[in-house]
């Protein structure tokens, strides 16, 4: 294998490990999205997520609630990680394509 292909192969291995890393980090975070409901002039927040073909809703509290802020942050972090994972997958495909072309 040429040096250039070695570098691409090394990068492929790195990206495969990175995908596992992102998966593990994503698993630690809550999935779903946050919805808000206005009841009697007050705004209340809920986490909605899909489980076994049904949508579950969990009450989080008002805007000032620690629980709401924590979950909001975690969901936003999960989205970022999912985006990074998608990017990693694209890079991995590119590396695999280059290696296939060489063979």
């Amino acid at each position: 294998m040429s040096t250039l292909m070695d570098i691409i192969n090394e990068e492929k291995n790195r990206l495969e490990k990175l995908l596992i890393f992102y998966d593990k980090e994503i698993q630690k975070l809550p999935k779903g999205f946050i919805s808000r409901k206005k009841i009697n002039g007050n705004i209340y927040y809920y986490r909605c997520y899909r489980k076994d073909n049904s949508v579950k809703t969990i009450y989080l509290g008002t805007e000032k609630s620690d629980n709401f802020n924590k979950i909001q942050e975690q969901i936003s972090e999960r989205r970022k990680l999912e985006h990074l994972k998608r990017k990693t997958k694209e890079n991995l495909l590119e590396a695999k394509r280059a290696l296939r072309a060489e063979r």
């Binding site: 070695d6 570098i7 090394e10 980090e25 990074l84 694209e90 890079n91």
Partner: protein, 225 residues
């Protein structure tokens, strides 16, 4: 290339916190900087990888403090700390940032906790060669510490013989040979190679001699004096 862009972003981020005053860029990305420093000479190989290695001086007497994890998080890097395989690095789809430190004496610790930067640095031997022979260069409107190209090249010869990973060893050797070809065309660099080589401990000189004897006749003759 995406990694070029993120590389510059990391440097800019560190520059804003004054960290570039202390950190030394080492590893494959130095070639990218050397290429620019030497007027885009095509003799300089561009075998950079997605590993961005930054050397923290040992002892870490730093001019600035910062929370590196926080700075890198803003650029979408996440910390991957794994005690099982001795890794502590900041990962991103296009780049990985790792902090290294010269291992001194009989130290066996894998990591050195640098509290001023809130990071752990991986300790490796022979990095003193790069730390003690660094220069400050202008790169993309930044001032960056990098090893003297001569030190970078001699270091590659030393570590190529000590790598367990054969592919990495071959890559090091190839980079060292290509850099030697380039440096030997520059009179100033020939002088630097000799000066740095003479300053090294006997064991290190022997490692370089053994590698160079087989791989680069012209450099071998120069070092033999």
């Amino acid at each position: 290339m995406q990694s070029d862009k993120i590389f510059i972003k990391v440097l800019n981020k560190f520059n804003e916190s004054g960290l570039l005053d202390d950190l030394i860029l080492i590893g494959g990305w130095c070639l990218f900087v050397y290429r620019e420093y030497y007027n885009n000479s095509i003799l300089i190989p561009l075998k950079r990888t997605t590993d961005l290695d930054l050397l923290i001086p040992n002892p870490p007497k730093l001019k600035h403090t910062a929370d590196i994890a926080l700075l890198l998080n803003e650029l979408d890097f996440r910390l991957d700390y794994n005690l099982m395989n001795n890794s502590y690095k900041f990962v991103h789809p296009d780049l990985e940032v790792e902090f290294l430190m010269n291992q001194k004496g009989k130290g066996n610790d894998d990591f050195y906790e640098v509290r001023a930067l809130s990071v752990k640095a991986v300790q490796l031997r022979y990095l003193g060669l790069l730390e003690n022979n660094s220069i400050k260069v202008k790169f993309h409107d930044l001032f960056l510490n990098i090893p003297e190209p001569a030190a970078f090249t001699l270091h590659k010869y030393i570590i190529s013989g000590r790598r367990k990973n054969k592919i990495k060893a071959e890559k090091d050797l190839e980079t060292a040979k290509e850099m030697s070809d380039f440096l030997l065309t520059q009179e100033e660099e020939r002088i630097k190679i000799i000066r740095i080589f003479k300053s090294l401990p006997a064991g290190w000189k022997k490692s370089i001699f053994d590698a160079v004897k087989q791989e680069h006749e012209e450099l071998f003759e120069l070092l033999k004096g």
